[in-house]
Amino acid sequence: MTRDELKEYIAGHFEGRLKPLESGRYALLYEVSAADLTEIAQALRDDSKLNLNFLCNIAAIDASDHFEAVYSVASLTGNHRLDFKVILPHDNPEIESTQEIWPAANWYEREMWELYGINILKHDNLTRFLLPDEWNQGHPMRKDWDAPDFVRFPELER
């Protein structure tokens, strides 16, 4: 499916549930509400025309006042790809696990939980794996986190 066909198809079938965001000339970007994430993810994967069966990546973003979780999914049969993001509040962010739909999500979500402190509901194995086991200094990828022993060179700041 080409980009335009995909856009049309999604506008037709997922009206209102996938809100299109500005994405320039490249892959389509949509917004999904956190409540119906799993439902939409399931629909995107099982839709015979879309068949988005391949999870490329889940990226968490700290946008200072809120968190975003961006899911990049692709179809191996249809040669198309899209991204959709879930916007989460900065206080107590919670998101439902998609590992039932794409098993690959397991580690990406674990990483999100560990580095950003986004709580993953219904995840089967939320344990530390990138950070040391005894880590208790918060979530290092958040923007307000600074390494305790990080040496700065003020004259190099720009």
């Binding site: 994405s23 490249y26 990546n57 990226a59 946008a63 990049s72 690959a104 794996f129 950070l131 720009r158």
Partner: protein, 368 residues
């Protein structure tokens, strides 16, 4: 007769074990020699590249990204530079495009040669490891001649490439292509029908197509499982749509197929390099971009390319300043390590080694 009481026991394979390339640690539960459970423990090579990149300008990110997946540094640079160029709508000069393709494919071959060497070494044959590295040396020399480094190149910059190739590059590259093509016959003679090799790899670690897709497995491993998917063909980036090459695909998804796919890919890459050398135009090698003040417009993009280990991607968020807001790196090995327990459980320790080797997992890509 009463049954003998047996007990499972735990073995830590890694973080410094000869066959867990780098610092991967696998917590194995063994029943005798049989693997009952595998828990991968990662993070020993976590260098917080993503966090550091948030405090660097776009030009300064590139040397850091070289360390993301240091076996094929060129593709790390490429995937980032390409993403930034897409965001900022920079047209890369034609010559730079060709040079990028040549370098990417040379690097893919170098990576596959390392794969060949380490895999056969993990399975026990020590000499061919050196043969693989010997041919890789030709490619490293080409890189050093062009950009001055052998491993962390900092060659592909935003807007083009940093150096033009020296005049002696093209004849030397053609010679290297010829040599590697010939040496491939040696490799095949050594292993393709060697009964010991067949016994060690045929029907070992079978990864079904469904599992592979579900776990986001990509690259040669996915193609060994029978799915003909290559981002170079299916979603062409750069100028890959101009070259004529095949996607080698096998059907069984066992260790032998994973090995064969990569050997075949070396051939295809050689083909691409020959075509690119033939078609190399004259002209500029880079669009001038000021490394200090370069600001892509605000926006976000997920860019992905086909790396020697599968899909390599970046999720880049720019807010219009000189530094990226978020740079999420995605490496193929991350998913491959995730699927490893599903493939290797039930086999022997020796099989685990063969599977780990043919998955070609390298840890910097997992830990970042």
């Amino acid at each position: 007769m009463s049954k003998l009481k047996t007990q499972e026991f735990m073995v830590n394979m890694g973080p410094h074990h000869p066959s867990t390339h780098g610092v991967c640690r696998l917590m194995l539960t063994l029943d005798g020699e049989k693997v009952v459970k595998i828990v991968p423990v990662i993070g020993y090579l976590h260098r917080a590249i993503e966090k550091i990149c948030e405090n660097r300008t776009y030009a300064q990110c590139i040397p850091l990204l070289d360390r993301f997946e240091y076996v094929t540094s060129m593709s790390c640079e490429y995937v980032f530079a390409d993403a930034v160029e897409k965001l900022a709508a920079i047209e890369v000069p034609e010559r730079a495009q060709y040079l990028r393709v040549i370098m990417l494919e040379l690097n893919r071959i170098a990576s596959h040669l390392i794969f060949f060497g380490t895999t056969v070494m993990d399975i026990g044959a020590l000499t061919p490891f050196l043969y693989g590295l010997r041919e890789r040396e030709l490619i490293m020399d080409l890189f050093e001649m062009t950009c001055g480094q052998r491993l962390t190149y900092n060659y592909i910059t935003i807007g083009g490439v940093s150096h033009d190739i020296p005049p002696e590059f093209i004849p030397k590259c053609r010679e290297a292509v010829k040599i590697i093509r010939e040496k491939l016959k040696d490799y095949e003679g050594l292993f393709n029908e060697n009964p010991i090799w067949l016994a060690r790899t045929k029907n070992i670690g079978v990864l079904s197509a469904e599992t592979a897709v579900a776990y986001g497995v990509s690259g040669p491993i996915l193609r060994a499982s029978g799915i003909k998917y290559d981002i170079r063909k299916n979603e062409p980036y750069g100028i890959y749509d101009r070259f004529d090459f095949n996607i080698p695909t096998y059907t069984h998804g066992d260790a032998y197929d994973r090995y064969m796919v990569r050997l075949d890919e070396i051939r295809e890459s050689l083909k691409i390099i020959t075509q690119a050398l033939d078609g190399l135009p004259e002209g500029d090698i880079r669009k001038k971009v000021n490394p200090f003040t370069f600001k892509p417009p605000a926006g976000e993009i997920y860019n992905r390319i086909e790396n020697s280990r599968g899909e390599m991607g970046v999720y880049l968020v720019s807010d219009g300043t000189t530094k990226p807001t978020r740079l999420k790196l995605r490496g193929g090995s991350y998913n491959h390590l995730q699927v490893l327990p599903h493939v290797a459980v039930g086999g022997l320790v020796a099989d685990l080694v063969a599977i780990f080797a043919t998955f070609d997992i390298i840890m910097p890509e997992v830990d970042r």
